[in-house]
């Protein structure tokens, strides 16, 4: 890949720094999601406050990296794979920022749920599990981005369906609770929001993985079924 071919140029140095910053932003988002889910499970007020506060840092990264991308495009006029990298970074950063927003949303919902002193049965282990899968997807997508590893990126695309299935099962379970006891409706609705946020995080992780494939192969795999993508990738 580009990074090893002409390390010495200032242009490469710019690209490398930007890449590292994207990954650092990703690391912050990973931590935010994990903290938000912990806050949802424990109701720890301090943790909730931290997640909400740290979202500003995520946004700061987005603005800074976008600015750096614009600088590179204007000053270096990159072409081919370098241009693809810049375009992809710009999209990845947007996805990461959205994931940060979802984490903040979960934290806010955690506060509400615990303020209403929801019975413990409403905190679903299934949500934690789905969230851990989502964080794993994000981690793999970021690793794939660092290594420009198409195979790992393709794996991430496959895992997204797992989260979707889990989201549906949480919904079904919540419906049975709500039918049994109408008093659970308010907290159950809150829980739906949390589950939905987790599901969205999975979707964004998938987008990041798609951008990695775009950087390496130059093929746009958005809105394509996983089977078609697999066929496309195995061609070369």
């Amino acid at each position: 890949m580009g990074a090893t071919e002409h390390i010495s140029t200032a242009f490469e140095a710019d690209l490398d720094t930007t890449r590292t910053r994207v990954l650092q932003m990703g690391g912050l988002v990973e931590a935010q999601i994990l903290a938000a889910i912990n806050a949802y499970v424990t109701g720890d007020a301090e943790l909730i406050r931290q997640v909400i506060e740290n979202d500003a840092r995520v946004n700061g990264y987005e603005v800074a990296i976008d600015g750096a991308c614009n600088q590179i495009v204007v000053r270096r006029q990159p072409a081919a794979s370098d241009l693809r990298l810049i375009m992809a970074i710009s999209k990845i950063v947007t996805d990461l920022e959205r994931m940060g927003d979802e984490a903040k949303k979960i934290a806010k919902m955690a506060k509400q749920l615990h303020d209403q002193s929801t019975p413990t049965a409403q905190r679903f282990p299934a949500i934690r599990h789905a969230a851990e899968t989502a964080v794993k997807m994000l981690r793999q997508a970021l690793d794939a981005f660092a290594r420009l590893d198409v195979a790992v990126a393709a794996e991430v695309l496959k895992e997204d369906s797992e989260i979707d299935a889990e989201f549906k099962s949480v919904l079904r379970e919540l419906i049975t609770y709500m039918m049994e006891d109408p008093r659970t409706i308010t907290p159950a609705l809150g829980t739906v929001w949390v589950a939905k946020a987790v599901e969205r995080i999975g979707d964004h992780a998938k987008n990041v993985a798609e951008q990695v494939i775009y950087i390496v192969r130059g093929t746009d795999v958005r809105h394509t079924s996983f089977e078609d993508i697999e066929r496309e990738l195995s061609k070369e």
Binding site: A3, T4, I7, D16, R19, T20, L23, Q24, G26, G27, L28, E30, A31, L34, V41, T120, A121, R123, P125, E132, V135, R139, L142, D143, A146, R147
Partner: protein, 413 residues
């Protein structure tokens, strides 16, 4: 041919031969010098031979040194590999040069593939990013790993040589958890003792400051007694726990008559339940247990009273003992509120409460299951818990056959 011509001819021939020989040896040397590592230097007679021999000796010595150095590198790599710490060698710009197996486990680094990548591309935890940007490496930084679930890592950067760095990482999960437990323990004990003490001193002040008639005083002291009892119970439990912890010697193998003991436990459970639950006892097998009666009694009592406390009215508590050739099993099963799986691993921690508001009102000290765990450990047994939230829990333990004694005749039914 004149003699002069002859001499000249011979000289020319000799010179020609010499030139031809030098050219030939030079070609040999040239061929060898193109790949001096693979083959020995050429051989020859005379002065060429001497030069070649010197080269030969020199080559031998170099090869020997090279082998020694290679072995040294292999040995030190193996040493670094065997370290219980993660080690990553970084260049001046914190890019990866090499890392060992533990670093791979901690950060998912691949020493071949990820060579030359910034370390921050893989170690992405925000705490580390801050540590790296701040540039003060005198202290290690502690962080929750995002790669390994619920693991705490301690990371430190050590600079060496010219613009080179080591990233050392260590899994400190165990230590972090111990620290947390110790902190929790102290604050929990203080809290548990202060609550009844506040009530006590409040009443004492009232009685002291106001002139109260005898009945009021009696009312107040009546309210003070349970608080004092609670403090006593707590301190007794703490003492039990500490004596269990500090007496690691195996308990003397006294005979514990199981049937009467279990019957007594059942009666206590019934008394606590005040007939709001069905408490059932089933004993199978004709063995007694060898151990310390007081400790085993407190195990049984703790488990059974817990079952009664956490089971709603009209629920059932089953106490079972089954002994045979392969050992004995004691279990308490209830139809109570159950326990979320996330709490199970921490249940036996001191003062660990699943639901803080609930357990204190039911009168527990928060130490029961810790006592159970330690007392069982001294009898080579382990506590097992199965629980389904909302359905009920089952606490059980197995004693090995070596701890069983046949019941004396008259005890058999």
């Amino acid at each position: 041919m004149t003699p002069l011509e002859l001499i000249l001819g011979l000289v020319a021939a000799a010179l020609g031969w010499l030139a031809w020989r030098d050219w030939r040896e030079f070609r040999k040397l040239q061929r060898w010098a193109a790949q001096p590592r693979l083959t020995d230097p050429p051989e020859a007679d005379g002065e060429w031979g001497e030069v070649f021999n010197d080269l030969h000796r020199h080559r031998r010595a170099t090869l020997h040194r090279r082998r020694q150095l290679a072995q040294l590198i292999v040995r030190s790599r193996r040493g670094a590999e065997a370290l219980p710490y993660g080690v990553a060698v970084l260049d001046g710009k914190y890019r990866l040069n090499w890392c060992n197996e533990a670093a791979h486990a901690h950060f998912g680094l691949d020493p071949e593939r990820d060579r030359g990548q910034a370390i921050g591309n893989f170690v992405r935890e925000p705490e580390f990013v801050e540590y790296l940007t701040a540039g003060d490496f005198s202290q290690p930084v502690r962080l929750e790993s995002t790669r390994m679930r619920r693991q705490t890592l301690s990371l430190q950067i050590v600079s060496f040589g010219q613009e080179e760095h080591l990233l050392l990482s260590q899994d400190v999960t165990g230590a972090a958890r111990m620290e947390e437990m110790r902190r929790d323990f102290v604050s929990n004990v203080s809290h548990e003792l202060r609550t009844p003490l506040t009530v006590l001193s409040g009443f004492l002040e009232t009685i002291h400051d106001l002139k109260l008639d005898a009945t009021r005083v009696r009312d107040y002291t009546g309210l003070m007694v349970p608080q004092a009892e609670r403090m006593t119970r707590l301190i007794e439990d703490l003492l039990t726990l500490s004596s269990l912890e500090h007496a690691p010697a195996p308990p003397p193998a006294d005979r514990i008559a199981i049937r009467p003991l279990l019957e007594r436990v059942r009666q206590e459970a019934v008394a606590l339940s005040k007939n709001r639950h069905r408490v059932l006892l089933a004993v199978e097998g004709a063995h007694d247990l060898a151990g310390v009666e007081g400790e085993i009694a407190s195990v049984f009592l703790n488990l059974v009273t817990n079952a009664v406390r956490y089971t709603p009215e009209n629920g059932e508590v089953h106490i079972r003992w089954r002994s045979g050739e392969d050992g004995a099993e004691f279990s308490v099963e209830d139809t109570g509120i159950g326990i979320d799986p996330e709490h199970l691993p921490r249940l036996t921690e001191r003062f660990y409460r699943v639901d803080r508001s609930r357990s204190r009102e039911t009168g527990g000290t928060g130490l029961g299951l810790s006592i159970v765990k330690h007392a069982l450990a001294r009898h080579n047994a382990v506590l097992e818990v199965d629980s389904v939230p909302g359905k009920g829990s089952r606490f059980s333990t197995r004693f090995s056959a070596t701890r069983l004694l046949a019941m004396p005749r008259e005890a058999k039914v």
